[in-house]
């Protein structure tokens, strides 16, 4: 099958300047313009922009936490159901089915669920496998589990830690490793209620810094393409900018990814002791090339915060809206909490909104800042189109600012920033850079040989509308979306690493689970038979 997209404005910063040219697809792969052949299918896309399919590196779309949020908020299922439809549950709010469709409609073709507790691997992958159209991937959470902390406490060799990390990544089929408030969930169980980078986990005697550095070193040694994904300490607390700055300073020449930095951009200035430190953090990021960040932008309205940072979620119980929450201990390894929250256009909400935008606009290198709302923690991913508009139009930002709390915005630098993202920078931030960060060489650009994940947007004055309803979306060469409507359903794959497991470690894990849980390891790992589909996974290679 030969497909030709003719006459579009191709925005592909990896392969050269923006120009009007044709894009050719043969059997699901992008190719150079073939000589003397006619296309089986031609789409006239003049007046449109053509980009690679977008990649979301941090969006909680499946797994134990997401499902617990669904259970906590059953009233939203009814609210999403307009009238009875022809299939049961097809309109239940926030289903896997809707997740896939909504992402595809916006031109997103790969999404990473960034927080899979290793013991929920089976659930997470079953749920991801049920998300249609797009490709998925997950990051495995380490750093609050008894096994990691015990290895560090006992001063075990770095080779042994590597074996364990490799075993977890391989057996849970993850694409990388994440630490979430490293050590805090373990400390929380010893009644610790605040935890910083140099605090020590009781009983284990290891500091949060030690955990982060050990995991970071291990990830680097194993050649895992995605640098350690760090959810730092003290999320959401006034003054947390100091913690984030300390974490940024702790890279020591090794790559590190800091997740949802917006939630750490807070200082203690002003009458309410809550202000923006975004400018300082942006400067720290700009001057440290080892660091990549994503934002976790806050957009206003109802959402639900889901996090494995149990200490943070416990502290937020009083702010729950509606007033109901779940806090759980994660079977002794980590934990988490679900706290519904409504971001209001008040002082605090205005600061949070502005901090995110400041970071977006003040971090100068689009290769190192990533487009996220930490779905659903800052806002659901359905708010992306409005966020694109805010980044690309200072007039849109000014208009929104007039609705917000003026005294809060005075404590930020937002009004003085006139930068507007152009389409090339958007293409880097949401396509090329994520592919590079995750080690996905086959996507994120439109060069020959890449898989044919293509998003076509109709150019228009209304930026939000343009990104909300893609004119055409191809996934592996299949036309899946036309004029913002899903036309064709297909199954994507889950991207994973497959580092070879060390035999001694596998044996040791078996003994550990027998001893601690009285259960065979088979209860905790992911059986091949779980997903009854041909090749539900695609392997990504490690760096050598």
């Amino acid at each position: 099958m030969l497909i030709r997209l003719s006459g579009g404005e191709v925005i592909d910063p990896v392969n050269g300047k923006t120009s009007q040219r044709d894009v050719w697809i043969r059997d699901g792969v992008l190719i150079d313009i073939p000589e003397g052949e006619t296309a089986d299918q031609t789409h006239n896309v003049s007046g449109c922009i053509v980009m690679a399919g977008a990649i979301d590196i941090h969006s909680h779309i499946g797994g134990g936490n997401v499902n617990t949020a669904r259970l906590l908020l059953p009233e939203y299922h009814a609210a999403h159901q307009p009238r009875p439809t022809n299939t049961p549950l097809s309109n239940a709010g926030w289903s896997t089915f809707r997740t896939g469709c909504l992402y595809a409609q916006m031109g997103f073709t790969t999404v990473v669920e960034p927080a899979m507790a290793p013991y929920t691997a089976l659930h997470t992958h079953l749920e991801l496998a049920d998300i249609p159209i797009i490709d998925k991937a997950t990051l495995a959470i380490l750093g609050n589990d008894d096994f990691t902390l015990s290895l560090l406490r006992d001063g075990k060799s770095s080779a042994m830690i590597d074996d364990y990390v490799a075993w977890v990544v391989g057996s849970t089929r993850a694409l990388g490793v994440k630490v979430i408030n490293a050590g805090a969930a373990a400390a929380f169980k010893e009644n610790v209620r605040s935890f910083s980078l140099d605090d020590v986990v009781p009983e284990y005697g290891v500091s949060s810094r030690k955990i982060v550095k050990s995991m970071q070193a291990s990830v680097t040694r194993l050649g895992i393409p995605h640098p350690l994904h760090v959810h730092a300490n003290n999320l959401g607390i006034a003054g947390s900018a100091n913690t984030a700055a300390a974490t940024i300073a702790a890279t020591e020449g090794v790559p590190l990814h800091l997740a949802h930095l917006q939630f750490y951009g807070y200082g203690t200035e002003g009458k309410r002791k809550f202000s923006s430190e975004a400018a300082r953090l942006a400067e720290a990021v700009n001057s440290n090339p080892d660091v990549t960040i994503d934002i976790g932008q806050v957009m206003f309205g109802q959402t639900v915060t889901i996090s494995s940072d149990v200490m943070r979620q416990f502290a937020a119980l009083g702010n729950a809206s509606p007033k109901k929450t779940v806090i759980f201990d994660g079977d002794g390894n980590g934990g988490g909490g679900i706290v519904p929250y409504r971001y209001k256009q008040d002082y605090y909400g205005s600061i949070q909104w502005a901090v995110g935008l400041e970071l977006f606009l003040l971090v100068t290198d689009p290769w190192r800042v990533f487009f996220t709302t930490d779905h659903p923690n800052g806002a659901p991913f359905t708010a992306y189109p409005e966020l694109f508009e805010l980044l690309m139009s200072s007039a849109a930002r000014d208009a929104k600012c007039t609705e917000l709390n003026a005294s809060a915005l005075e404590l930020t630098t937002l009004a003085s920033i006139r930068r507007e993202y152009n389409l090339e920078e958007i293409a880097i931030m949401t396509r090329a850079a994520p592919a590079k960060l995750l080690g996905l060489k086959d996507r994120g650009h439109l060069g020959a040989g890449a898989i044919a994940d293509v998003a076509v947007y109709r150019k228009g004055k209304d930026i939000a509308k343009m990104f909300r309803e893609a004119a055409l979306v191809f996934k592996n060469g299949d036309l899946v979306v036309k004029n913002g409507k899903v036309m064709h359903y297909r199954w994507g794959k889950t991207l994973r690493l497959n580092p070879p497991p060390d035999k001694a470690m596998a044996k040791r894990m078996n003994a550990y689970h027998e001893e601690r849980y009285g259960l065979s390891l088979d209860w905790f790992t992911f059986p091949d038979s779980a997903i009854q589909r041909d090749e539900p996974f695609a392997e990504v290679s490690c760096n050598s």
Binding site: A78, P84, N86, K324
Partner: protein, 276 residues
Amino acid sequence: MKALTFTLIDQPDERLDLSGLTPVALAGLSEVQVSRLRIGTSRNPASVGDVFKVAGKDVNNIVFEGGSARFDKVGTGLNSGSMRIIGDVGDQAGRRISGGSLYIEGSAGDHTGSCMAGGRLEIKGNAGNYLGGPLAGEMTGMEGGILIVRGKAGDYTGDRLRRGVIAALKGCGDYAGYRMIAGTIVVCGRTGAMPGYLMKRGSLLFDRRPENPSPTFMPCGEPDIAFSSLFDRFLMDENIVNKPLLGPKPGKYGGDNAVSGKGEILFRQRDRLRSD
């Protein structure tokens, strides 16, 4: 103008969602448009014209001639005008009513008056479980208005009640006032097991001593309060009862001490009155 009347042609062969047949929703629609509204919930859903003969014009006065236990969500969101059903209704009748009046001449199913916030809902027959209660996940049940059941109410009457008055005049099932937050529930006749189970605040008013009180309720003697005669007068003024319910010196239980314990059960002291 004649009342807008829906006359049931035949018993429906599927459950019907009648939430769209209210004064607000029907205002300005022609007869043809009304008869084309979809009300069925199955794969081949019925429309209004398949189930009812429609007559009359006055949307502020809606009458259903004939009812069925398959009539769900009757009068959803009613905020003005009146609706009358000459027959039974199914579940969630009068959900989120905020004004006007809904009168059901037959019996009603579960979740009748769910989350109502104002207005008057009266049922001549019996009502099912969770009278006035919230649906799954919702934080509060009824928040205002008057809900009267002339027959017997089911279990969990007034689940999560927050404000307003519920009256069940021929008794109720178990756990009346379950998880109640505030408001008032009146029961004449027998009450089932553990009335006021997990209630935080509010009042349960009975015409007799509760038979199976929860062990977490404490007897509090016979407080000398003006409230009982004041409220008796209110109930008679509203035509809910025709003789005083509590009398001058009601007995009292306080609870539920399993939660905050600020609620009360007030009840008529029959034995003492007889010896007077």
